[in-house]
Assembly symmetry: C2
Homo-oligomer: 204 residues x 2
Amino acid sequence: MGRKSDAKERLQDAALELIWERSYGVVTIDAICEKAGVKKGSFYYFYESKADLAVAALEADWQANAKPWWDNVFSASVPPMERIRTFLQMTHDKQAVMQKEHGQILGCPCFSIGSEICTQSEVLRATAQEILQRQIRYFETAIRDAQARGEIGEGDPNAKAKCLYALFEGSLAQARIQNDLEFLRTLPSSAMEVLGVRKDATVA
Amino acid sequence: MGRKSDAKERLQDAALELIWERSYGVVTIDAICEKAGVKKGSFYYFYESKADLAVAALEADWQANAKPWWDNVFSASVPPMERIRTFLQMTHDKQAVMQKEHGQILGCPCFSIGSEICTQSEVLRATAQEILQRQIRYFETAIRDAQARGEIGEGDPNAKAKCLYALFEGSLAQARIQNDLEFLRTLPSSAMEVLGVRKDATVA
DNA sequence: GTTGTAAGATACCGACCGGTAAACTAGTAA
DNA sequence: TTACTAGTTTACCGGTCGGTATCTTACAAC
C-alpha cells in the first residue's frame, strides 16, 4: 500500500557525508535535504530531528559498510597479529584515498561526532559510543588470540585493546587536524610496541 | 586616551568556556556576548568574527594558563620520566575536578576544536595545531632526556613523542565521549609501554 | 573645562533556520 | 474503479543568527 521511496536512505547518506566532511553542528537540515534531493516536509515525515537522522545514519553505515569490512579484516581465519597489522595498513590506505577525493583526511566519523556532541545529545552520544565499543571488541579478541599463541605478553586483553584503540583514534584525529598521513604511517610499528609483541614470536 | 575595558578578555574567557563545554559550531556569538556581559556591538568592535575570537581565546589561554603549567610540570629540574608520569597523573586529576564541577569530562579544547573545525576555518585549525605541537615538544625533550639517561630505548624522540601524544589525546577524547575517568587511570602504565621503558632503569 | 578617543548601548536588517499544516500524488490492494 | 495510504510538495511562521550603523558615554590628556 502506498508508494515506495529511498528518500530515507538518501537522507542518511547525505547526512553522514556532510557531517563527516564538515561537522555535526555546522550542517543544517536544509543542507542535508538539498544534498539528498528531499524537501524539508519529507524530512520531517521520516525523522523528527537532525539528531534522530544522525543516529540512524551512523547505525545504518555501521551495518551496511563498516561491520562487513571489520568482519573481513578481523576474520578468525587470519592470524591475530596480522589482523591488526592489516587493519592499520588498510586504514591508512582508506584515509589516503579520502584525502585524494576530498582534499582532506576525514578520520573516524563516530569519534569526531562523539567528541563534538557528547555534551549535547545523549542519544547520539550513546550511539557513537556503542559503535566505538564494538570496534574495541574486535581488537580485544585479536589480542586474546595473540596471547593464546604466546605472541603478546600477559595482561588484561580489554585494557590492552582500549589502549591500542586510544592510540589508533588519537593518531587518526591528529591526521585529520593536520591533514597529514604521517600519523598513520608510523602507526603499525607503534601499535606493536603498545601491545608488547615478543620479537621472537612475531613470525609463525 | 579613551576609556579602558576588560571586555576583550571577558569575551575570550566566555568563548573558551562555552566552546570547550559544548562545541565550536553550536556556540553562537549572541551566547558568548551574553555570558561575557558584552553587547554585540562591542563584540564587533573587538573582533571581526567568531573564529577570530576563538583564535585569540586559545592563544591567550595558552599563554596565561597552559604554558606556565606545562613549564612547571616539565621543568628540567625534574627527572624526565617523572615529568611524564606526573603530567599524566595531574591531567587525570584536573579532568576529575572538571567532571565534578561541570558534570562532564571536557578533555582538551585544542584537540576537540581542531578536530571539529579543521575543514572549515584554516586560521583556527592552524592555531589549534600550533598549540598541539608545542605540547608535543614538551614530550619530545623529556623523551630525549630519558634516552640520554638510558631510561628509554633508542629511536627517534619526535616519533616517540607523537606516538605518546596520540595515545594521550586519544584517551582524553574517549574519556570525554564516555564521560569516564577510567581511560585516564590506565594511561600512566600504558604510556610506559609505548615508550619502551627499561624496567631495570626506571629508578635512579 | 574642552576635546579627542576608546568603549558601550540601541536598534535594526536581511538571511536563514527549525518546524508545521495542508493540499497533492502515485501506487496498491480489494 | 475505488478507496486507502505512503510518500511528496508547497507555502508559510516565528525565532534567531551574523552583521551594521548610529548615537552615547566615560575617561584621559592638554
